[in-house]
């Protein structure tokens, strides 16, 4: 019980944590992850990552990265690290579970 939780990997299938939902707040014109006593405002990139890589309907993170690579016309090798980093951060903040 003393190791640091590992980074999210391409083979993981992250889902929103219990009590977390993706919401569009029209009044503020912002997408956000709403969770227990907290929220996180998502910029365009973070929203795209959540939609592509966070379940329930995704195969795994690898498939999400493939999709983002096509959608944003960006080399896969360039974006994969950032996506995994962002997902790990969302996991550590409690918005996502694996």
């Amino acid at each position: 019980m003393s190791t640091v939780a590992p980074h999210i990997a391409e083979s993981d299938r992250p889902r929103l944590a219990p009590g977390v939902m993706l919401r569009n707040d029209r009044r503020r014109g912002q997408w956000m992850l709403m969770g227990p006593e907290r929220l996180l405002v998502l910029d365009e990139m973070a929203l795209a990552v959540v939609r592509a890589c966070v379940g329930p309907d995704i195969a795994d993170v690898a498939a999400g990265i493939d999709r983002l690579s096509v959608e944003y016309d960006a080399p896969r090798t360039e974006i994969a690290g950032d996506v995994l980093e962002m997902l790990t951060d969302l996991r550590n903040k409690g918005y996502v579970v694996t």
């Binding site: 590992p6 503020r28 709403m34 969770g35 006593e37 996180l40 405002v41 550590n92 903040k93 579970v97």
Partner: protein
């Protein structure tokens, strides 16, 4: 409460950005009698509580003012038979519902009804890691066992669970056990809070204040575990005020994130604001939450930085901690207009250390249970 929240851009210069959440203290009634309860010493009787229709209107007004979440709190909100109805109403109008509870009145059927009504998150307070200490400080026999049972049901139902652990002299040594317990229960989040000395806690300070050694040991234990806990459980750890060098950003800044409605309908910028003399509070019968949020005198009094005295006035941290807590400035420096004396830049900071050391050394063991 601690929330990592982005600041929303204000719509115009005169309109304050909307609050993030409205805390609704549905009642002051509670089967527990914690001597550190943050409720005021003068508790609202059941007969003075707002009725269901009025709470529903207040929920509508919370959505109108732009709040995103509602916290059903108390006292013990589950003593209200209309809790399900209020949660359902909140869900209907798009508010995210949190339940802040001692859990001793909950059971599986009621949790299921609350979940069907749209409840998302349950925060359960634990008084200790073990039943003896927990039931003694809560003044409720069998409470701890019941809490564990309900916590497990919350997780089994797929609701989010937060464990709120309040530390003081009599349980601070078991902080690691409390963390283990929260993880064993499947909580997504734990709040490791040290008693904040308002209300009943202020009256019982000499019986609750931990010693410096206890405090340092606890702090070291928590910090040592944080890396291992990352990704497993979210930890909200609040350093105890009286041992801190800088104040906390109380409520995320006065009248910036939260509104608080008391059982009989007073609208406050924070739950302890009523202790401040000379502040005029409106009720939900006077004006709408939107009006009160915009220009209610108690809300505008300490909003932003314009009210600040020295040393806050010229300090780089003024938009990080907003000068600390007004109620604490009142309790410790004698004036709510002062810099929070927890700040080492305050001229009254030395007095805080003296008070703290005196109360910690008193080793008082007799506390007064809160009562109604």
């Amino acid at each position: 409460m601690s929330c990592a929240l982005p600041a929303f851009a204000a719509a115009t210069q005169t309109e304050p950005a909307p609050p993030f959440a409205v805390l609704m203290e549905l009642t002051h009634r509670c089967p527990l009698r914690c001597p550190y309860c943050s409720n005021p010493l003068a508790l609202d009787p059941a007969s003075a509580e707002l009725d269901t229709a009025t709470w529903k209107r207040v929920l509508d007004e919370a959505a109108d003012v732009g709040a995103l979440q509602v916290h059903f709190s108390g006292g013990e909100p589950c003593v209200r038979k209309d809790l399900e109805e209020l949660v359902a109403h909140a869900t209907e109008i798009g508010l995210y519902s949190n339940l802040i509870t001692s859990a001793v009145l909950l059971d599986r059927p009621r949790l299921e009804r609350l979940q069907r009504a749209g409840l998302q998150h349950v925060q359960i307070s634990l008084q200790d890691a073990e039943a003896g200490g927990a039931d003694r400080i809560g003044g409720f026999k069998g409470g701890h066992a019941k809490k564990l049972e309900v916590a497990r049901a919350v997780v089994a139902q797929g609701l989010a669970l937060t464990i709120n652990a309040v530390l003081h002299r009599h349980n601070i040594e078991r902080v690691n056990d409390v963390i283990d317990l929260a993880m064993d229960l499947g909580a997504g989040r734990i709040e490791i809070a040290n008693v904040q000395y308002y209300g009943w806690a202020l009256a019982n300070r000499a019986a609750l204040m931990p010693s410096r050694d206890q405090l340092l040991a606890m702090d070291a234990a928590v910090r040592a575990r944080l890396p291992e806990l990352a990704g497993r459980i979210v930890v909200d750890y609040v350093v105890p005020d009286y041992y801190a060098r800088r104040p906390k950003s109380c409520m995320g800044g006065w009248a910036r994130r939260f509104m608080n409605v008391t059982p009989h309908g007073r609208v406050l910028p924070c739950h302890a604001a009523e202790t401040i003399p000379g502040l005029a509070f409106e009720t939900v019968h006077d004006r709408s939450l939107s009006d009160i949020w915009r220009d209610g005198p108690a809300f505008t009094r300490y909003r932003g930085t314009g009210w600040m005295p020295d040393p806050c006035r010229s300090c780089d941290h003024q938009e990080e901690d907003w000068g600390g807590c007004r109620c604490q400035a009142l309790a410790l420096a004698g004036s709510a207009d002062a810099t929070d004396p927890v700040c080492e830049l305050s001229s009254a900071h030395a007095d805080v250390a003296a008070l703290r050391d005196r109360d910690a050394a008193a080793l008082g063991t007799e506390w007064t249970y809160r009562g109604l």
